[in-house]
């Protein structure tokens, strides 16, 4: 395995007598999209702020490309591009001037690189307008542009889809995936939107009360055939017939509640189920496949959302 892009080693943060982050240990690999999931107050933002040196580390360390953010700040941070919380930029300047100002802080960024990044995030037409006239989506893009200026090998995005409309979210998602797959950038994303994270990330670390309670590998492939949950909407008078058919043909037990029949099934069997049910003249008003979502896993591991 290659050298990890980022390593968290026994990372702790204490404020007063309260331990906010209680010792995080994990690695993030190049080309990986790592999701940081947790309810509000779990310590996501605190951890991210420690990763970029905005707040001091009480104990442990963060190593970026092997360089400690504590003792080798300049060398470590030059590999990182970040948006911490909202993409706040200078509203009184144009988007281009904002990028120009940030480019001067890191040696070796040419004007061509600025143009390239602007094109990458699709802001060419509005880049010379003042940022205060930008919509949230445009600010988010400009935020990503400033984070990418210096070709970082690690991109940290805190709540990147916050406040974006669905098409904006999809764009950011595709963009993040492309960066990871084509440019081998390690992307760290934090969010409390589970469905979002599931679509975007390779791995998700679940944080609760400052502790990493689980790391989930996300399978985006279909061969794995995860168990799906199917819900059929049909009148109760057909329930018995349908339940019997499902039990006999597929060996599953369907639960009835109101108008709905719910049962688990593997993905490959779905087409034949539909066919069988239709042939058996069962009046279906709806057929919905609900993946066993991360949300279920999430709620399962998190339990009640209690901020300690």
């Amino acid at each position: 395995m290659a050298e990890p892009a980022m390593q968290l080693i026994g990372l702790k943060k204490q404020i007063g007598s309260k331990l906010i982050v209680k010792g995080l240990d994990f690695d993030i690999q190049p080309g990986e999209v790592f999701g940081f999931l947790g309810p509000n107050g779990a310590g996501k933002t605190t951890t991210i702020r420690m990763m970029v040196g905005l707040i001091r580390i009480s104990e442990g360390d963060v190593r970026i490309q092997g360089k400690s953010i504590k003792t080798d700040y300049k060398e470590a941070i030059r590999h990182v591009g970040a948006i911490v919380e909202n993409p706040e930029l200078y509203g009184f300047m144009s988007g281009y001037k904002n990028l120009l100002v940030f480019s001067r802080m890191i040696p070796g960024i040419s004007r061509e690189r600025i143009d390239e990044v602007v094109k990458l995030v699709g802001l060419e037409k509005r880049i010379h307008q003042k940022v205060k006239r930008y919509s949230l989506g445009m600010r988010q893009r400009l935020g990503i542009a400033q984070a990418l200026l210096h070709n970082p090998s690690i991109l940290i995005l805190d709540e990147p889809t916050n406040g974006l409309d669905p098409s904006g979210i999809r764009e950011i998602r595709q963009y993040i995936r492309r960066l990871a797959e084509q440019e081998n950038v390690a992307v760290i994303v934090s969010s409390h939107l589970l469905s979002e994270m599931e679509l975007m990330c390779d791995r998700i670390g679940i944080l609760k009360n400052g502790e990493l309670i689980s790391i989930q590998q996300i399978q985006n492939t279909e061969e794995d055939a995860p168990t799906e949950v199917v819900q059929i909407d049909c009148p109760p008078s057909y329930h018995e017939k349908a339940q019997r058919l499902l039990q006999e043909r597929f060996g599953v037990t369907a639960m009835a509640s109101g108008e709905k029949l719910t049962f688990p099934i593997t993905r490959g069997e779905i087409p034949s189920i539909i066919k069988e049910l239709a042939v058996a003249d069962i009046e279906m008003h709806g057929f919905a496949v609900e993946r066993k979502t991360l949300e279920d896993k999430f709620l399962h591991v998190i339990g009640e959302n209690v901020i300690e």
């Binding site: 941070i77 919380e85 802080m105």
Partner: protein, 306 residues
């Protein structure tokens, strides 16, 4: 080093991209204009006519003598009458000198800039972008401080140019602005540049100290209103504080007692046993304390959420 230069350049770009900076400089120019108009009006009351100027000076002397018979102006006026040196009246150079009274306005706008330059980054949230770059906090702190001093210098140049221009418009270019002064019982001719260097210089000491103070509060509390407010309050209220406690033994260690260096040129000291050296050392000590406290707090404190 080039890195530091780029940071200062960035600060200047940001500063002059803000409308408020231009408004502050605009206010300065308007105040110079107002001052010129007032001076022009005042001068018209007692002009020095070619035929009657000696008589005018004698009338002036009578007025001075009623208030204070040892007034140095009496000796100067007598010297003029004896040597047939007609007073020049106000000129562009003279007005440029008189405008040193406006350096308090200069201090005010510099304090506003100094109080905002760090605190605003926190208010805007852009501090997070600034501090996640390969530039240390120390460098950013001093780049911002250098930027404040550069702004003060720019504003001083604006003050100079506008004062000279309005002076030329309202008073003309006549004369070189030199004046007669009584020094050790002798009348000497002092050029306008000597006077400008001295009186502006003494005022700029105050400007530097108070804007550094505002900068420190801005770095420590990350709140521009607090920084600007306390700096302006202390700048104006500090002197009166000293007059209350002037008889206490610790009074001479207070910054306000030392800050007004004109007390050593006029001789009206706030506390009798003050010396120029002592005052300068005290000012430097306070100045360094402000700078170091601001720097340490800025470099060490966490940048947490809102």
């Amino acid at each position: 080093m080039s890195n530091f230069f780029q940071l200062v350049r960035n600060e200047q770009t940001k500063l002059y991209s803000q409308l408020s900076t231009w408004i502050l400089l605009g206010i300065l120019v308007v105040i110079v204009l107002g001052f010129a108009i007032i001076m022009r009006t005042a001068e018209g009351i007692m002009p020095y006519e070619d035929e009657t100027w000696k008589q005018t000076l004698q009338e002036e002397n009578q007025m001075y003598a009623e208030i204070d018979p040892t007034d140095p102006n009496i000796a100067i006026n007598n010297y003029r009458i004896e040597n047939d040196l007609k007073p020049e009246g106000m000129s562009a150079w003279g007005f440029l000198y008189e405008s040193h009274y406006l350096t308090s306005v200069l201090s005010l706008i510099t304090i506003i800039v100094a109080g905002g330059i760090l605190a605003n980054e926190f208010r805007w949230g852009t501090i997070k972008l600034l501090l996640t770059r390969p530039a240390t906090r120390t460098k950013i702190f001093f780049a911002k401080y250098a930027s404040v001093l550069l702004f003060a210098l720019t504003a001083l140049i604006v003050l100079f140019i506008s004062a000279w221009l309005f002076g030329m418009i309202f008073f003309g270019l006549g004369g070189d602005g030199s004046v007669l002064q009584l020094k050790d019982g002798e009348i000497v001719d002092v050029s306008v540049w000597t006077r400008i260097a001295q009186d502006y210089g003494l005022q700029l000491v105050k400007l530097a100290v108070w804007s550094t103070f505002a900068f420190m509060i801005s770095a420590a509390f990350r709140n521009s209103a607090l920084a600007i407010g306390t700096a302006i309050f202390l700048m104006f209220a500090g002197i009166s504080v000293v007059s209350f406690i002037a008889d206490k033994p610790f009074a001479k260690y207070i910054l306000f007692a030392n800050l007004d260096l004109t007390q050593f040129t006029t001789g009206y000291k706030m506390i009798d046993d003050l010396t120029l050296t002592f005052a300068i050392v005290t000012i430097i000590v306070y100045y360094l304390i402000f700078l170091v406290v601001g720097w340490v707090l800025f470099a060490k404190r966490d940048v947490a959420g809102h």
